[in-house]
């Protein structure tokens, strides 16, 4: 008996050692990218692209391809920006639009999320409004401006209505496709662990659907921002305060092309900045933590 016992322990010890070796060999090494590399690969290329665009622009102006009233010089646009900054109106104008856009987006989030969940999980609701919801995504939200003006007049309620009609379908659809793409294996694993019904939704379905949901949020923000600009341009009124859309419309009314260019650039920059500052990091963090992001 003694000899079999020692044989057993030898074998078992062997196993532990072997296993430790395998684990060490198999371990996935993760490396953080150094700041220099990030600057070189992520920051440099877009910066160069912007510089190139500015250079070509300046070149066209210097070559006098067309009259200055049709193509303002970059410096004229820059002067406009500096003026607004010195008058102290720049941040106010941006904030008027951004605060509207973000609160509209948050409202859309609060409506779109439960709606998406309902469509994704309740067959009847999906059959009833699923197609309408995805169809609404292809309707340009600017189409909602005229009815919204007729319903509410020229006020914030009308702006928010347009934002909601633009963003809610994106957010809801993002969640629906996120839920649809949850691997059935996760659902089965969840069920064997006892995660059924609401527990299953909370512990398995929602976290598994998060990447699709975030993609929907990103798109939802883009739609919010676009809808808001459309609403501000079409329905500008002194009562609404000066936002970026009104700035653009004012530029047109005053035949101030540098002002128009400035407004367009600001709209673009703010839209990109919100995406870069909020949504992209969120998405990258989620994907990275799941090993879904190579590099």
């Amino acid at each position: 008996m003694a000899s079999t016992d020692t044989a057993t322990t030898v074998r078992k010890d062997d196993l532990a050692g072997l296993e430790a070796g395998l684990d060490a060999l198999d371990a996935v090494e993760l490396r953080r990218t150094p700041v220099r590399e990030v600057l070189l690969k992520k920051v440099l290329p877009p910066s160069l692209a912007v510089l190139l665009v500015l250079a070509v622009w300046q070149l066209l102006v210097s070559a006098k391809v067309t009259e200055e009233t049709k193509l303002p010089a970059p410096s004229a646009v820059w002067d406009g920006l500096a003026d607004m900054w010195l008058q102290g109106t720049l941040l106010d104008v941006i904030w008027t639009s951004v605060s509207r856009g973000l609160s509209g987006f948050l409202l859309a989030l609060a409506i779109g999320t439960p709606l998406g969940l309902l469509v994704a999980r309740v067959k009847f609701v999906r059959a009833a409004i699923g197609p309408i919801l995805s169809g609404l995504q292809s309707l340009p939200s600017v189409a909602w401006v005229p009815p919204a003006v007729l319903w509410f007049g020229l006020n914030d309620a009308m702006m928010y209505t347009v934002i909601l009609l633009g963003a809610v379908p994106s957010i809801a659809n993002g969640l629906v496709s996120g839920v649809d793409q949850v691997p059935p294996l996760f659902l089965r694993a969840g069920r064997t662990l006892g995660a059924t019904g609401l527990k299953g939704t909370w512990h398995v379905v929602l976290p598994a659907a998060l990447p699709g949901y975030l993609a929907g949020l990103k798109q939802g923000w883009a739609f919010s921002w676009r809808s808001l600009m459309a609403a501000e341009i079409i329905a500008s009124s002194p009562d609404l305060g000066l936002g970026l859309g009104q700035l653009l419309e004012n530029g047109r009314n005053n035949i101030d092309l540098p002002g128009v260019f400035l407004a367009i650039l600001l709209i673009l920059v703010v839209g990109i900045a919100i995406d870069l500052l909020i949504f992209s990091p969120l998405e990258r963090w989620v994907l990275r933590s799941r090993g879904l992001l190579v590099k």
Binding site: E19, D23, A27, F186, A189, T192, P207, R290
Partner: protein, 264 residues
């Protein structure tokens, strides 16, 4: 530290005669091409603390049967009883949740089982220790190797504190060396916990390496074709002569079962 699993299994072993009882179970799927009978009158008992492997060619209905025992699907006819409650189930894919760390995956199972919050972390660490992954608590799933993932999946299955562990070809996707090691781990864990295991595989040697009893399932429809009791002392190795000898015998039967289908 005595395992609660072992205690639970011992406690009920006195009262219960089986960990799973499959009685005259048939299962058919209806599809566009008509109704397909996948399992036909399958009866099988797993005794408390017993290790049974269910062996059969691909597509013979092994996963179907396991899903029925797990309660993920219902039999067309017959009945299945698992007196020890909802069985734990391990898949060929690890099925760990990638949004949670290894430790949190286990804690989720503990939470769903109703363990109070304060006890979850120590219990999760004990279970990771049990599969020799003491340092893996904070690791993300994608940071673990295939073998480590299956060990975490085993720990998560054990976290359910179920008396019956169902395993559906859990090592089929692993390389041979890792699989060998995991065979050793599974045997050790099974001995330490006194779990009942119903282990599905199409690999004859794996079946013999692990089991006390090997049940061969025929194909189309799946029926219990033959059973073998494996009287070889653990720890076995897959290369052992006794294992090889019995494997040869079983392989001949399996081939015979498969050959029957080519004869018309």
């Amino acid at each position: 530290m005595a395992t609660t699993l072992a205690k639970a299994a011992e406690g009920t072993a006195v009262e219960q005669t089986h960990a799973a009882r499959i009685e005259h179970v048939s299962k058919s799927f209806s599809g566009p091409a008509g109704t397909q009978l996948v399992l036909d009158d399958v009866s099988l008992d797993v005794a408390p603390g017993e290790f049974v492997t269910l062996l059969g060619a691909s597509g013979c209905g092994k996963s179907t049967l396991l899903n029925l025992v797990a309660g993920l699907d219902r039999p067309t006819q017959g009945s299945i009883a698992t007196p020890g409650g909802r069985p734990a189930l391990m898949f060929q894919e690890h099925a760990l949740f990638p949004w949670l760390t290894a430790g949190k995956n286990i804690e989720l199972a503990l939470r769903l089982r109703g363990l109070p919050r304060a006890e979850r972390r120590p219990e999760a660490e004990r279970l990771l220790e049990l599969v020799r992954l003491g340092g893996a608590y904070g690791k993300r799933v994608h940071e673990l190797s295939g073998g480590m993932r299956q060990r975490v999946a085993l720990a998560r299955a054990l976290a359910q504190d179920s008396q019956l562990l169902l395993m559906d070809e859990p090592f089929a996707a692993l390389d041979a060396i890792t699989r060998d090691v995991l065979h050793g781990e599974l045997t050790r864990v099974w001995e330490e916990t006194n779990l009942s295991v119903l282990f599905v595989t199409h690999n004859v040697r794996e079946a013999v390496r692990l089991a006390q009893r090997v049940v061969l399932l025929s194909s189309r429809p799946g029926r219990v074709a033959k059973e073998w009791t494996v009287d070889i002392a653990q720890p076995r190795r897959i290369e052992d002569a006794d294992v090889a000898e019995l494997s040869l015998e079983i392989t001949d039967h399996l081939r015979g079962e498969i050959r029957r289908h080519g004869q018309h």
